[in-house]
Structure formats: C-alpha cells, structure tokens
C-alpha cells in the first residue's frame, strides 16, 4: 500500500547550510494496516508525512502509494493523487473556519472523486455530528472539530490516512475516544493508517509502535 525508499529532505538553515531532516531508507505499510510512529517534537515526523502526502517535494527517493509513484508525478498529478487516495488528519485539524461542517467535508471530496453530499452526511452521522451539519467549526467543541477532521479525511474512501498528532489538542478522555474512532472508521473503510505522535498514552493503544528515529537516519 505504502512504500518509501531512500527518501531524503533537507532545508536551508539560517546559517546558510543545509540541514537534513528526513532520510528514510525504507518504510512500508500494508493495505488496511495501522502503524504508529513515536517521535519527539522536531524529529521530522510531520515532514515525513508531508513528503508522503506530496505536500512537500522530496530531494531524493521514492514514495509509492497504491501502486502510484508520488515522487515521480508532476505537481498537479500529485494533488490529484492526494485528493483521491489520501486522507490527512492534522493536529490542529485545519478545518476551514468560514465553511460549515458539511461544507468542510464536501469540499475535501470535491477535489477528488467529486462532491457526494449523502456520503458526507453519512460519515458525519457516523462520527456523531449528524445534527451539526450547518454549524461552523468555531461553534463546535475541540473534540467535535476533530471528528469533522476525521470525517473529512475519510470522505474520499482513501487508501491511506495520515494522522499527525491527532490527539495532541484533546484531553485524555476525548483523545482516547477520538483515537478509537479514527481506527474504527479506517478499518470500516479499508484504509491504512499511519499515525505519528509523541504522546505515550496514544501510542499505547497501538501494537508494534516504531520509533521514528529507527526509520529516519537523518542527522539533523
């Protein structure tokens, strides 16, 4: 499902030199699999996810998602692949504040296979927000906003869901509930899940958690 090989990314440092943030010789995730990566802040986890999602262009290496080589595609094709095969749950949810709950989900779909309002409603119902479709994000609690983000990430029936510290902004009780929901909905939709976090309580919910340091050999 996801295969990463010799992936490298470095950034220009303020001093003028280049700092390597990601160097991942190999990483794979099977279809429908769920993998958690443990990593401290600044370890390059988010950059790694951005490279997988094609939001950032890699300096070298390859990322293959469901048979398509993301790193070899032009930017418009990467955008298309991201819209069709990837779901992304951000730590800060990144909901569009000026759009309703339903529009946030539908808009995410419209860049991929196309807007499907019944499916968006169904998913929002599934995450317990069927009665909040016309609300705006600022009218929701943090936990509810996170559930919108989950529904949006899964709306396009993605093959892979990337979750970046998805419980980072939630209290313990809501974090646990939210995580269970993400895993369950991914399972129901047959999506693989790659989650990165530094929160031990979150990681404790997963089996076979890997340290990001193990797979990322970048010096920076």
């Amino acid at each position: 499902m996801l295969a990463v090989a010799d992936l490298k990314k470095s950034f220009l440092s303020p001093e003028g030199g280049r700092v390597e943030i990601v160097r991942v010789p190999a990483f794979t995730l099977a279809a429908g699999g769920q993998q958690a990566l443990r990593g401290e802040s600044g370890s390059g986890k988010t950059t790694f996810l951005h490279l997988i999602a094609g939001i950032l262009a890699a300096d070298a290496g390859r990322v293959e998602i469901d048979g398509a080589e993301m790193t070899a595609l032009s930017e418009p094709k990467r955008d298309r692949l991201r819209a069709e095969k990837l779901g992304y749950i951000f730590q800060t949810f990144n909901l569009l504040q000026g759009y309703t709950v339903l529009e946030n989900v539908v808009l995410g779909m419209s860049f991929g296979p196309g807007a499907d309002r019944p499916r968006a409603r169904e998913l929002l119902g599934r995450v317990g927000l069927g009665h909040r479709l016309d609300h705006f994000p600022h009218q929701l609690s943090t936990g509810q906003q996170q559930r919108v983000a989950v529904a949006r990430a899964l709306a396009n029936r993605p093959k892979l869901v990337l979750a970046d510290e998805p419980t980072g902004n939630l209290d313990r009780k809501h974090a646990r509930e939210s995580l269970a929901l993400i895993r369950e909905v991914c399972r129901e939709n047959g999506a693989a899940l790659l989650l990165v976090s530094h929160d031990e309580a979150t990681l404790a919910e997963f089996e076979g958690v890997r340290d990001f340091k193990e797979i990322n050999s970048a010096a920076g």
Partner: protein, 401 residues
C-alpha cells in the same frame, strides 16, 4: 459546485470589504455609464431637435445664439428684424413655411413667445408628428389676449385651460416687472419632449404690442423659423444673407450648428470621460488591494485547500473568479447608481432646456461598461491570485512535531 462555494464563502467571510469594494465599483460603473449615456443622448437629442425647421433667420450675430434662442428658447435674442424681412423670405419661392417669433416676456421664468397659429396647425415638429392640444383646448386667436401653454410649463406653473395670467417683462422673472395685460389660457399642448414644452405661446401681435414695449419695434420679430423646399435653397440663402448681406443672419442647417457647439465643448466630454476612466481604474485597484490585503488572513485556508488536493490553478481561478464576482456585484449595483444619476441629470436638462433624455434607452455602453468593469476586476484579481497560487503549503501549515 466547488468554485461557487469557494467564492461564496470567501465573499461572505470578507463581507465588509466585499460591500465597500463592490460599492466603489458600482459608483465607477454607474458614473461611466451615466457620463457616456448623457453625452451621447444629449448630443443626439440636441442635434436632432430642430422643432421641424431647417433654418432660422434673425438679426446679424452669432448663428449659435440665434438657434439657441429661436429653437431651444435659451439665451437672449441677438436682436430684432423688421417685419418686412419676414414677409420677404416668406414669399421666397424656396420657402415652404416661415413662422415668425417674438420674445421678450416671461411668466415666472418660463418664456412667453409670440407666434402665429400656423405653427400649431401645419408644422411637424418631428417627422409625422404635429402639435396637439390636450382635450378641451384650442389654439389662440391671432388678435386675442390668449395663450397656449407648453406641457412642461403648464405643469410647473399649474396652468390649465381657462386660467388667466399677467406676463412679466424680460426673459428673467422679476415680479416688479409685471405687465398689465391679462391673458387667458385656451389650451395646453400635449408633451412633445422638445424645448417647445417649456414655452407659453401667445399671438405674435400680443408680444409685439405688450404695454411697456418699445412702440417703434411694434412690428419687429425676433426671428423667423424656416422650412425649405430643398436643401440647395439653404446654401443659396446662406450666400445671400451671410456672405453678400451684412444685416441679417441665416442659420442653416440647425442640427449642424448645434453639433458645432458640441464640438467646441468636446474637451469637457473628454475630461469627464477621463475622470470616469480614472474612477474605474481606482475601483479595479481597490479590488486588487482588498483581496491582496486579505491574502495574509487567507493563507492558511488556501494551504488547507491545497493539502486537501486543490490544484494551484484551482486556487488561482477561485481568486480571479472572486474578483470578477465583486466586479459583477458592483456592476449590477452600478445600474442603480446609473439610473439615479441619469434621472437627476435628465431632470436638470429637461428643466433647463426641455430636451428629454431616456434613461431606459438601450445602448451598447450599458453592457460593454459592466463587462469591461468585470474584466478589469478579474485582471486586478490576478495579482492576489498569483500570491495565492504561490502559497507554500507545508510552510503555511507549519509543522508542529
């Protein structure tokens, strides 16, 4: 669905700047349309307003002043001409109709013009259109102290058939200069949408012999309105009166003389048009500035959309389309501005000259201007759109781990 939603929500989110910007575009668009329409319509109306006459004969002086005085009932008369000159030109074989007029009095600012009943009986003021009176009215008798009121003057002065009035001396109203004669209104003309509507017509003799007027000029006329049998006669008479003679002025053709006036004041048109173009440019610039300034606040939203799979060109298109929508909103509101401005200007022109401008008259500028404004706004939107196009997704979404 995506693009309309993106545009709609963005406009809603920035409702205040949307309204202010659209308002400035509405002003620009309305002003441009108004300047253009007033210019073209008034030029057409004035050059076509001949009251059905081809030429005017009057005292030696400016042709333009003669036409303005005799046809538009503006300006002072350049002087009088003896009745014999009227009789002579009336008998000229090239002459179809010759109508004498005399001016010099008013009724509360509205001109009294002395003429002959033939004006209302045989002259077509526009092709196929003769003067008609409102029901119950009749033309004045040539020797009676009677009057026929133009529709606009009657409306403003509240005159109706059977009413009486005392004229005032001079072309400008001065209540101390009231004549002793009493005139009776015998009819009110139906609207002609020409300067005739602003005039109160009385018998020629009545004006010539009004108390207080110079008895030596009791047979003089102010001008003679002429219909020619053939245009060639106009050039012949022009030669006779203007080049060979030095006592009278033959103003021919009437439309061309007014067109000359517009040519003389065309610089004013150009200044107005330039101001309107500048206003349009400033309005388009305000769209640019308004959207550009909101870009910082929108960066995160744009990055989120890109992260969700929106292509750069989708984002670029959405911002350009948003600018075009602001332009379209402004252009739509511009019609309200146009109608209001035009109605005001048309009212002033009608009051001052009797010429009627039609606010609903179709003209290409009424679709060219709004479309050009929308295009200009879209063009202005390209600058912020390019900024949006270049939004760095990962950097804007700021890695937090």
């Amino acid at each position: 669905m995506t693009l309309p939603l993106l545009i709609y929500r963005s406009l809603r989110q920035h409702a205040l700047s949307t309204i202010v910007t659209a308002g400035s575009i509405a002003l620009a668009c309305g002003l441009l349309m108004c300047v253009w329409m007033v210019k073209t319509q008034s030029q057409a109306a004035f050059t076509q307003t001949t009251a059905g006459f081809d030429a005017v004969l009057g005292a030696r002086g400016s042709k333009l002043q003669l036409v303005l005085n005799a046809i538009f009932h503006l300006e002072a008369s350049p002087g009088n001409l003896p009745y014999a000159d009227y009789e002579m030109i009336k008998r000229h074989p090239a002459m179809k109709t010759a109508i004498p007029i005399a001016v010099g009095d008013n009724l509360r600012g509205y001109r009294l013009v002395g003429t002959v009943p033939e004006l209302f009986e045989s002259v077509e003021y526009a092709p196929g259109k003769k003067y008609a009176l409102e029901p119950g009215g009749r033309v004045f008798a040539p020797d009676a102290k009677e009057a026929v009121a133009g529709s606009f003057a009657a409306e403003r002065l509240g005159l109706k058939t059977g009413d009486t009035f005392h004229p005032f001396h001079g072309l400008a109203f001065d209540e101390k200069n009231q004549h002793a004669e009493t005139y009776t209104v015998t009819g009110v003309l139906k609207p002609t949408n020409t300067p005739v509507d602003r005039v109160i017509w009385i018998p020629l003799k009545g004006l010539q012999t009004m108390s207080g007027h110079d008895p030596k000029a009791a047979t003089d006329v102010s001008a003679v309105l002429l219909q020619l049998r053939a245009p060639t006669a106009g050039f012949m008479l022009d030669m006779m009166y203007n080049k060979q003679g030095n006592r009278l002025t033959f103003a021919y053709p009437v439309g061309a003389i007014i067109a000359e006036l517009f040519q003389k004041i065309s610089w004013f048109d150009r200044v107005l048009a330039l101001v309107a173009y500048l206003v349009a440019l400033v309005a388009a610039g305000s769209v640019l500035a308004s959207i550009y300034n909101s870009m910082s606040a929108r960066r995160r939203d744009l990055a989120i959309l890109r992260a969700l799979g929106a292509k750069r060109r989708t984002i670029f298109g959405a911002v350009v389309a948003e600018a075009a929508c602001i332009g379209a909103l402004g252009a739509a509101a511009g019609f309200a501005v146009y109608f209001a401005l035009f109605a005001g200007v048309a009212r002033i022109i009608r009051t001052q000259t009797g010429v009627v401008l039609d606010v609903f008259a179709p003209h290409p500028v009424l679709w060219i201007c709004p479309l050009a404004m929308i295009a200009l706004c879209a063009l202005g939107g390209m600058v912020p759109a390019f900024k949006a196009y270049r939004t760095p997704v990962a950097e804007t979404l700021a890695p937090v781990s």
